[in-house]
Symmetry: C2
Subunit: 350 residues, 2 copies
């Protein structure tokens, strides 16, 4: 399944720029030797990093640009003065076909706004989404939207279901991924109008390219009850951040508990292999990378403060996404879905 | 600070009824000998439990009723046929002054709807809230609303801030608790209109009985950044359930990691004291009890599936709430707040 793919990288994005982006790409190349890269940014700084990584240098092209979008610039400002910046050129490489996916650890709002402007939403989608990969006790699931937009109509929630299913198909190689709608209760009477309406559309529409499982609650996400969890971006972002915070909090409890007595300290030393496995499981760098879905091109956002290992996870994810035929399939699925919805509406009207 | 207080208990609420409620009350009485109880429900079943607990029996009164609200009844149905049920009478004991607080492990929706009908919202509040106590790495914080209502206007978010502050004052004995508004980002430009507007009201209103700290994100809840976290009920419920799910998930990871090798198993045995401390820290029974705020009386909801230990936590919480003068103080605070808001509006209009 190792097809040659080109990944466009914003070398200036994130808190550390080329010193993380370039070694991160090198780690990913070790795992996927068919990859090649285009780096956008300060050529001198990029070349300095590439010099130490000849294998990566052999599969990389560098495109110089002086302009960089700051981490705290507002999206509107970034759009106005962003043309020619490393972030802009990274995304534009996907639009003009030079690259298959764009990856940046830069300013999320600016990345999202520019991706929407440059790549344009696919037919039938008004608002693209940000999807996160969420570790579960079984494997992983996809949660979206985790913050691209606030609020969602019932139609938009259905679009999120289709986009999430397309991503799950690409990453987990399941033809009909299971999908749940995040709600405050499992009874049909509960929740907001949009969520209830989306529920009834997803339940009643025949032959969807997904296996709709109904409402789920927040505690079921980590249990891996479904492959795709659909929620509007405000609650989705809060859920994601709360889960991250809880994981961090428990890690602190655990550290404190193991330092309590000499016996627990000794036990912790003996069990260090187990703790290492736990630490790896809980390492946020393992699943680094939010994906913008619903555009004519794939863009992956790495966490801004991550290191080379974390950035490599985002590149790995980009590569997996690039190997799938996500966009044409999703476009076809959405068209079929809208046709069905309109047919239903027509029947009802008649 | 041990003042005599009477607690009304719905003996029939929850998955286990009197077999959990009565022993739970006994545990709480050991910690707070000034408590007395009124049990509502099947007299025979309650007496059977009380027989084994003479100390509790000496401080308890039993009021028989045949009617019980089922765990899956809809709130509207429960309201129609609920009069005279154990849940109804438990709440009514607070209204007529026989008890200081009502505690039930029964049907949440019915409990909420009946409490609102019987106790009535305090002046200035349209929609009561459900507040949760959330463990943090520092101590505990209060998060509200965790599901009483979906959506909240800016004014309602301010009310949540005042209610949460009143509860924090009662439980943590802090005169001006710190309050944060849960949002998807810390920049002022982000978030929904209602949240932004509530932010500007809380920031600009002078002499509030709380210390407003601005926006916080989901990962800061568990860090104990503020005493009170304000969020509308849909996102709040999802955050709470997601945190519970994440804690459970990590506990499963930890168990699996400690079973990996004989060395890690041995280490886990030696460190069992530390693990016990961790388990206690993460025990959901320790902080069992959601509080309905904004009514002319306090009602505490215990988790339906909990055991005597968990139910005792809900009773402990009820007792602490009963010892404070929460309602007259909150009523006064809300009146002052509305006067200030109107004064501001008048000035703006002039």
């Amino acid at each position: 399944m190792s097809q040659p793919r080109t990944i466009a990288l914003d070398a200036m994005g994130g808190d550390h720029g080329p010193s993380v982006v370039v070694p991160g790409a090198a780690l990913s190349l070790e795992r996927s030797p068919a990859l090649s890269f285009i780096f956008y940014g300060d050529e001198q700084a990029i070349r300095a990093e590439l010099e130490r990584l000849p294998a990566l240098a052999a599969r990389s092209r560098v495109v110089h640009t002086d302009r960089v979008i700051g981490m705290s610039e507002k999206p509107s400002q970034a759009l106005r003065r962003g043309k020619g910046s490393s972030l802009w050129m990274t995304i534009d490489a996907v639009r003009n076909g030079e690259a298959d996916v764009a990856v940046s650890a830069g300013n999320t709002g600016a990345f999202m706004a520019m991706s929407k402007l440059i790549l344009r939403p696919i037919k039938g989608i008004e608002r693209p989404a940000l999807a996160a990969i969420w570790p579960t006790v079984k494997a992983e699931c996809i949660v979206l939207d985790v913050g691209a937009n606030i609020g969602a109509s019932s139609r938009e929630l259905c679009h999120l279901a289709m986009m999430g299913a397309a991503m799950a198909r690409a990453l987990f190689h399941i033809e009909r991924p299971t999908v749940g709608l995040l709600n405050v209760g499992v009874e049909e009477v509960k929740g907001v109008d949009e969520v209830r309406e989306a529920h009834s559309i997803l339940k009643s529409t025949a032959e969807l390219p997904l296996d709709y499982r109904g409402f789920i609650e927040g505690d079921q996400i980590g249990q891996g009850s479904v492959d795709v969890v659909v929620v509007e971006g405000f609650a989705g972002n809060i859920a994601l951040k709360t889960a991250e915070g809880t994981a961090k909090q428990i890690a602190e409890y655990l550290r404190a508990a193991m330092r309590r007595t000499w016996l627990s300290k000794l036990g912790a030393v003996l069990a260090s292999g187990g703790f290492r496995v736990l630490k790896e499981k809980m390492d946020p760098r393992r699943v680094n990378g939010g994906t913008f879905l619903g555009l004519n091109g794939i863009a992956v956002k790495s966490h801004g403060g991550t290191d080379a290992l974390g950035f490599a996870s985002a590149v790995d994810l980009a590569y997996e996404m690039a190997q799938s035929h996500l966009i044409p399939r999703l476009t076809a699925d959405l068209t079929a879905f809208h046709d069905k919805l309109e047919a239903t509406t027509d029947t009802t009207a008649g």
